[in-house]
Symmetry: C2
Subunit: 206 residues, 2 copies
């Protein structure tokens, strides 16, 4: 067993202190929350003094903003262009979302829940991005209804929120489910989503 375990395999990526701080922030904000994480915790994670943290960051709040900004962008990028029919697009949407969650479940949890700690003026931009992502899903579902692929009596809002609920809950149990590859999990969730919105599954609630 080599002492330099992860030394440059293909790309010599040595993380900067700033990158290491951001990685520590993801882990700590996820487990203890933004308010429950001190700048001293971040320094301790890198083995430096509390005051030294500010040689690499502007403020604790700026770290949160950058983390969530880039985090939401990962989701937006992943579903920006989806090929195929609305049915296929919806499958791709769910699978892409689960893939991004699985890449870093801690980051996912921070993006979903810690945005409430973001203060104006950054907050407005974050909320707008979240809405844009929801709108992306809504458009797919609308197209599916219009194309006759999804049930015509489907309630758009309920469907959008049900799908987002399913995929956004993943970080709560994905880590404890390391046995299954995330692609399998994503495909399984996509199956359930498609079954729930597809036409021909019988009458809805009377």
């Amino acid at each position: 067993m080599p002492r330099q375990s992860h030394a440059r395999a293909s790309a010599p990526k040595k993380p900067t202190k700033q990158e290491r701080l951001m990685a520590a922030a993801v882990r700590l904000f996820s487990r203890q929350g933004y308010a429950g994480t001190s700048v001293r915790d971040l320094g301790k994670a890198l083995g430096i003094q509390p005051g030294s943290v500010y040689a690499h960051i502007d403020s604790k709040h700026t770290m949160l903003v950058q983390l969530i900004d880039s985090g939401i962008d990962q989701y937006l990028d992943a579903v920006a262009e989806l090929p195929g029919t609305p049915t296929e697009q919806l499958r791709h949407f769910v699978e892409a979302h689960v893939r991004v969650v699985a890449e870093d479940v801690n980051r996912a949890r921070v993006v979903y829940h810690q945005w409430r700690h973001i203060q104006p003026p950054d907050r407005a931009r974050i909320v707008a991005k979240r809405y844009a992502y929801e709108q992306r899903l809504r458009d797919i579902i609308d197209a599916g209804i219009a194309a006759g692929e999804f049930a015509t009596d489907l309630d758009r809002s309920t469907a959008v929120r049900a799908v987002l609920g399913m995929v956004n809950w993943c970080p709560e149990w994905l880590p404890a489910d390391g046995s299954e590859p995330s692609e399998v999990v994503g495909a399984g969730l996509a199956d359930l989503v498609l079954a729930s919105v597809r036409v021909g599954h019988g009458a809805h609630h009377p």
Copy 2:
């Protein structure tokens, strides 16, 4: 049922200071998180001095434990006995869960996310209760598969987590959706859930 100190049955009851503190904690923990809420915030909400808060509570942590303990019990009680076939039970489960969420979305958010701030030894009991609730849903789904009402190729774990995700995400959007009664929302979500697990909706992912 344990003792109720001096509560009048079916009368306009005047909340005690302790009850008012718990109500304030629900609201503040939900919006700012447990760590982001100070005992001074709680005192301010009741118009009393910070130190006076301790005339009514033991500690901030005890408030969180009591809040989440009784909160989870609400969910367990709501689904303890569900009539009918597995299909009907699953519908009742979703509708009952959404009803409890709608009763107090702030409390729901605290129950779902702030339990991570609970320290041992209380933590073990909370985690066990959460697992018991999940097990309750798993049993219904297993019964539905065994009875031939749900798809035989349904993945139990995925189905359980998908359903929990849908209903547990409700507090994120229910407050913004005040126009629709929660019973309608619950029925709509139950429709989607039943459609996703029911037999005869076509082949799953190849």
